[in-house]
């Protein structure tokens, strides 16, 4: 493993500041200027305005006067609001839940991306399965069950960043029950009524907990060979892999602009597409004509209003302006009009 106490000085400025910290005779540049020029004009002016202002070394500030005294003390309440992480063995959150509690919510909120069985939709993360694949040379499957060392990470990330479109919206009970359900999908929690909470946490054992070793790099030992470094016959050229796709065809993103919908299309691509292309979070897809026709019965202005102000429906939630509050109302309307351009209204 690397030691990282390398020499760190890369800039003269830093060298100066470190010297200033560690050397009694060190002075700030202001001091040095004053020394060279005697009492400078600017210093006289400054003294006249601010008689107590003085140049000081970092050491004087940090040690003799008890620090920079910057910022304000963080109160317990302030810390509590931001102190969100869940760590293995400590910092376990309050609340509880069971896999049975989590199932319905998972289906409603998570399955759009992660699949009903945690199998992953599209390129979204696979949450379950993959047991025994970590030794597979080509396609090991790293899932919560097969790879993650600690269940705390599942609680942590679910609460911190999920659902993808509404971070930090889950209660701790929801977090415990969704995590229990994901562990249930992985056969790590076997009883769907097992109450998952801070007390029972230690009863849950992640199969790959001991699958990690400290970084052993450098783990290659090349030498600076300059000639006859290998047998010319061994130089076999391998060109683009077949079957993996060069990515080239996908790199060309659809750039066809629909006339009259330039703004709307741009807004759609940047903000709306994420959910409305895939149906994420219950969002109606662009080509779901029946659903849109149904909504349009209320009139286009109502659809505009819901897009701008947000709307919680039976099947999903539309966040105000699709979650991008920087959009103007007109931009949101243009995006709606672009989405509905092929639907009669």
């Amino acid at each position: 493993m690397y030691k990282f106490n390398q020499k760190l000085i890369s800039a003269v400025v830093l060298a100066l500041s470190i010297t200033a910290c560690s050397n009694d005779s060190a002075q700030t540049s202001t001091d040095k200027i004053a020394e060279h020029k005697g009492t400078s004009v600017s210093e006289k002016v400054a003294s006249a305005i601010l008689p107590s202002a003085q140049a000081a070394t970092y050491e004087e500030i940090t040690i003799k006067t008890g620090g920079f005294n910057l910022g304000k003390p963080a109160s317990k309440e302030e810390i509590a609001g931001w102190h969100i992480e869940v760590s293995h063995g400590h910092n376990l959150p309050p609340g509880e839940g069971t896999a049975a509690d989590g199932e319905e919510f998972f289906e409603e909120v998570c399955a759009n991306c992660h699949g009903s069985f945690g199998e992953g939709v599209g390129r979204n993360p696979v949450l379950a399965g993959g047991e025994g694949t970590l030794t597979d040379k080509m396609k090991p499957e790293r899932t919560v069950g097969s790879y993650w060392p600690y269940a705390s990470t599942l609680l942590d990330y679910t609460h911190r960043a999920m659902p993808f479109t509404a971070a930090q919206s889950l209660t701790w009970d929801q977090t415990w029950s969704l995590s229990a359900y994901v562990l249930y999908l992985n056969d790590i929690i076997e009883d769907e009524d097992f109450v998952f909470n801070a007390q029972s946490y230690k009863e849950v054992h992640m199969p790959n907990e001991n699958g990690f070793v400290r970084d052993e790099r450098p783990d290659t030992h090349n030498t600076r060979c300059m000639k006859d470094c290998k047998d010319p016959a061994s130089v076999v050229v391998k060109t683009a892999l077949l079957g993996y796709g060069s990515g080239a065809e996908d790199v060309v993103e659809e750039t066809k602009i629909v006339k009259g919908h330039e703004i709307g299309q741009k807004v759609y691509d940047a903000t709306c597409r994420l959910c409305h292309d895939s149906g994420l979070a219950g969002a109606p897809k662009m080509d779901d004509t029946l659903t849109w026709e149904h909504r349009l019965k209320q009139g286009i202005s109502k659809v505009h209003k819901h897009a701008i102000e947000g709307f919680a429906g039976q099947t999903g939630v539309m966040p105000p302006k699709g979650g991008n509050m920087e959009l103007t109302d007109d931009e949101v309307k243009a995006a709606v009009d672009f989405m509905l351009k092929d639907i009669e209204h």
Binding site: S10, A11, G67, D156, A167, R224, S246
Partner: protein, 436 residues
Amino acid sequence: MSDKNTVKDQTSLNQQEDNQSRRKFLSQAAATTAVVATGSVAANNLPPNVPEWQKHLGKPVNSNPYGQPSKYESSVRRLRVPWLTPDSIASISFTPLAEIKGMITPNGLAFERDHGGLPTIDPEQHRLMIHGLVEKPIILTMEDIKRFPNVSRIHFIECPANSAMEWKGPQVGRLQFTHGMTNCCEWTGVPLKYILEEVGVKPEGKWLLVEGADSASMSRSVPMEKAMDDTLVVFGQNGEALRPEQGYPLRLLTPGWEGNTSIKWLRRIEITAEPSYQREETSKYTDLLNPRDPNRKDLIGKAYLFSWIMEAKAIITFPCPEKPLKEHGKYVINGLAWTGTGKIKHVDVSFDGGITWKEAELNGLVLDKCWTRFSMPFEWNGEEVLMQSRATGEDGYVQPTLKQLRDARGVASIYHNNAIHTWKINKNGEVESVQV
């Protein structure tokens, strides 16, 4: 149309448009000149004619108060690989390395990896909280932070997934995608140790949980030793405020370590006794091993934890797939090299797929944990060439071959692929990404 051509088409799209309109303009102009005898439009800006732009006044000073590159540079931009990530929010853009003219990445071209999209943060309302195992938990405003002693240092940042697509074989046919998850900027900020001294770390405080204010609340564990060494809390990038893509208004910078530990939009530092085992240091950014080396078979199925250092890497940026050779003759090969352990000591170049090597010249500044430019004169007479570059750090570490890396780790560990890369110059001057 082949895949490669399709890629090329995209980069040169703007350029082609420009060329097309220019051709159109030229042919129209020629017609006009033929009709109107006293030339109102110059058809030819080349000698001996006086160029059009020299005959009339240019735009007023400060027409564009922030400035922007010439319109003829509009094809120089970051690109995504759409299939790489499930969506365009938690995604990656790549630096166009073939277009970088020095050792600094312009702010608009610095690669970006976001896990929950790009937040828009009002600096007036941004706060950095430091708490946990400290004597004095505090909350700092941006103004407070700027009153601490600050320094400016030039360092590279590299995503550990840079070149990840190349483990199993050559997969993405351009430099921007094989090596573009790196940038190198001048970063201005406060050495974190000053802030830690201010709050008074308790003796049992050995780790930091660092956390961003994006919707992923991106978070990592960093050991105290690194925090007290060269870690910075950064607000400036290449002389201006951090760009939003780089964490505006505040980010962490852990020089030489995998990019993800340099948490962007930094809002919280908690001092802890143990690492917090966040998602990005367990389920991701760990290196699953399947060594081919029989002496390492006990590591099959195990994974490196906390593999922070970005090891030495060199890459030729000219010629490359985006910058083919257009004619026979003399050229200067250019490239970039860097290592997370310190300074670059040597870069060697091979033209025969790694059989013989010659030391390249290092150009300009050679700084700690920083892109270093290298070059070598080269004459091309139309033959096929297998071109490679190999970096050696001042610690003596030599960049490995792909075979050595696969022997040590297999082909499915995703991260930290710093293998020697091969460009094949074809007889027609085009450059292909291959492996030998």
